[in-house]
């Protein structure tokens, strides 16, 4: 396909997305479900791409996502809960006076600072997650595949226990969780943040570091022999992935308005794993696509499986609460067993790919897609 055609297609697509978002912004009340699905999709897309950076591109099977999201979410939430609401939120144990004083200072800050305060809070959340990752990365990254998985999973559980422990009652509000977290002031914001985060990660993947990550994924020993510092690159991938996971966690807190330690259980990590498996491990666009598809089907399209249905007076059997998730898990198993590459495999979205996909059934020619490394 010609380059100019691709350009036009790109511009058209972006324009369509922006138009859709502007339309939604103006029709908030009618499209509640669509908006919340899209927002959640965008947030999960960041986590999925970040997890993919680690699992798909560096080959480190980590299951600690929920924990890093929890750090980001709690940090952002603690920063953002307005002073007026603080006493209501911490009614059981009271709030740490330091935090309250800090909030009061912020309240009097100039308006430009107030305007970027939520973004700063998100970044700080990400930084905390990254710091923690750097700390635990030193011992944990020495471990091999499944030991690494179980150790990161363990850390995620430890974080959860710390957040909900009575010892930190005045900071995290213990196991009662935090609520009254202010949401996004504008619908477009989560999409812009998600776009920026994912773009940064794509740039990283295409840099020399990204190539080093892939070399580690393919063969650690060979990579080391080529002069790649294994620990440095693994640690880097782990820290960067955790940073974005933390940012997404903060966004999740702003999206949900109320969080508790239970939100960030192993099930959340599994949900994200599901997204990248369906999207294709090793494909950024696959993860993004997977995030939106999985969120939309789970929260919206497939809801009808949970309600008893009658079609032409015939009551469809099996349809009742919980059926949706069964369908979903079967779908996951089908993908894992028979369609292991997921939607995209390790390929990225490209107009050529789409073109070939449409063309292929008609011309029996074997297509050689660019960059389809396998």
């Amino acid at each position: 396909m010609k380059k100019s055609v691709k350009w036009i297609l790109n511009v058209v697509m972006i324009a369509l997305v922006v138009l859709l978002l502007i339309f939604l912004e103006n029709n908030k009340s009618d499209q509640g479900m669509l908006i919340s699905v899209l927002q959640k999709g965008a947030i999960l897309a960041i986590v999925a791409v970040a997890m993919n950076l680690l699992n798909g591109f560096t080959g480190l099977f980590s299951l600690g996502q929920a924990g890093f999201m929890a750090i980001g979410a709690y940090t952002t939430a603690i920063f953002l809960i307005p002073v007026a609401a603080v006493d209501g939120v911490y009614y059981m144990n009271g709030i740490n006076p330091g935090i309250k004083a800090f909030k009061e200072v912020i309240e009097t800050a100039p308006s430009w600072l107030q305007a970027c305060y939520p973004y700063l809070a998100l970044i700080v959340g990400g930084v905390f997650a990254a710091l923690f990752a750097a700390l635990i990365g030193i011992p944990v990254l020495r471990l091999k595949s499944d030991y690494l998985a179980i150790a990161t999973l363990g850390f995620s559980e430890i974080i959860r226990a710390l957040l909900s422990s009575p010892q930190f009652d005045t900071i995290t509000n213990g196991s009662y969780g935090l609520n009254k977290i202010p949401g996004f002031s504008n619908l477009l914001i989560p999409f812009i943040i998600a776009g920026v985060c994912i773009l940064l990660m794509i740039l990283l993947i295409h840099s020399t570091y990204g190539r080093a990550f892939k070399a580690i994924r393919e063969d650690e020993i060979a990579a080391e022999a080529m002069g790649i510092n294994l620990f440095k690159h693994k640690e880097m991938s782990f820290v960067i992935s955790s940073f974005f996971t933390g940012v997404a966690g903060g966004m999740l807190a702003m999206f949900m308005r109320s969080i508790e330690a239970k939100t960030f259980s192993i099930a959340l990590t599994y949900d994200i794993l599901l997204i990248i498996v369906i999207g294709g491990i090793g494909s950024v666009t696959g993860s993004v696509l997977g995030a939106f598809l999985v969120t939309a089907s789970k929260e919206w399209w497939l809801r009808f499986f949970d309600q008893p249905q009658t079609i032409f007076g015939w009551e469809v059997p099996l349809f009742r609460t919980g059926f949706r998730m069964v369908i979903f898990s079967i779908l996951l198993m089908v993908v894992v067993l028979f369609y292991r590459r997921g939607l995209m495999g390790t390929n990225e979205f490209s107009w050529d790919g789409i073109w070939n996909f449409i063309k292929k059934p008609f011309t029996k020619k074997k297509t050689a897609k660019g960059g389809a490394a396998q």
Binding site: P166, N179, M256, S258, K262, S297, W301
Partner: protein
Amino acid sequence: MKRILAIVLAMVLALGLMAGCGDSSNGNDASAPAADNGASASDAPADDGAASSDKVIKIGVFEPITGENGGGGFQEVLGVRYANQVVPTVDIGGETYSIELVEVDNKSDKTEAVTAAQSLMSSGVAVVLGSYGSGVSIAAGEIFAENQIPAIGCSCTNPQVTLGNDFYFRVCFLDPFQGTVMANYASQEGATKAAVITQLGDDYSSGLGNFFLKAFKELGGEIVAEEQFQTNQTDFKAILTNIKAAEPDVIFAPSSIATAPLLIKQARELGITAKIMAGDTWENATIIENAGEDAEGIVISTFFDENDSANTTAADFVKGFKEFLNATPDYLSKNGGDGVAAVSALGYDAYMAAIEAIKAADSTDPVAIRDALKTVELNGVTGSITFDENGDANKDMAFIKTVEGGEFKFLKTVTISE
């Protein structure tokens, strides 16, 4: 092969999308009348136009059907469903509106509660009823207030539910009151040493436990042990062993229905003979069923007694509700027999309060209904109901019950004036 699979999958998803859109457009049509009178509502759930011929007003039912409080939540839903059967329509501005219940399951989980509340908001309800369990109500309260939809809590007893929330009301009494009632009862029975077991992270349990603790100390009693357990914990032996060593006269353990039989049985297994007391949640037949003989002698406080003959509204309700239960075997089995739970009565009362408010407002506008709620006076099943400035029902009476011979037996009523 894979290509065909991919195409089929894509088609299925596309179909799903259409189905989803179809649903949402239906939802808009149905809620369109709600905005016709929407004079002041800025966030009225639908746009003007396309008024359909049969007028419908939607009432959201925000209850746990699954999760640890699923059993009690369902009893509350039953009360609401029965009320809907009794009063299926309401007259607004000279026109008859039929009332449609929109039920969502908050799964006894604070995170799910927010999602469930959001889906209620997008389905365009005018009033929300619920929930059983204070934690989920607190979590969702913000969403209701932000969308300016009034909510009427049925059995969420924690003060935080309505405090600082202009849109939350409730028809039951509060935990400070309930805690005091139980502490008074315990000390009247001669108890001087009490142990308190609460569930970490559960607003209802820790709140009520705290209020009991304060009240019991003020009455001169001594708290000999304070233990906490985690949600979904099923092994209480370690904390019960500690309690046994402290030798209390009574154990106050406000907790969920699912926890109750485990706690009771394990306590008796360890040879603890102290009287076990709890709050309103424990008034559920499945506890007796699961704990068997060990449940004998537990003491609870609750909102309502089905054998209370003084109140004619209540007598009618009990009669009608039993017929309602017996008509559907599924309801009967989930309710654990045809006993009338207090939460069902509260569900009924909340529904009636909503109807009264809609009538008084003479409008489907949520804000007008909220304003009307403040002045509603209702002779309910659980006593007369008016709301104070916080939105709490002015109630000053609790019923104390005990388990005897495998069923709940009424002991006495306790009134505390402030």
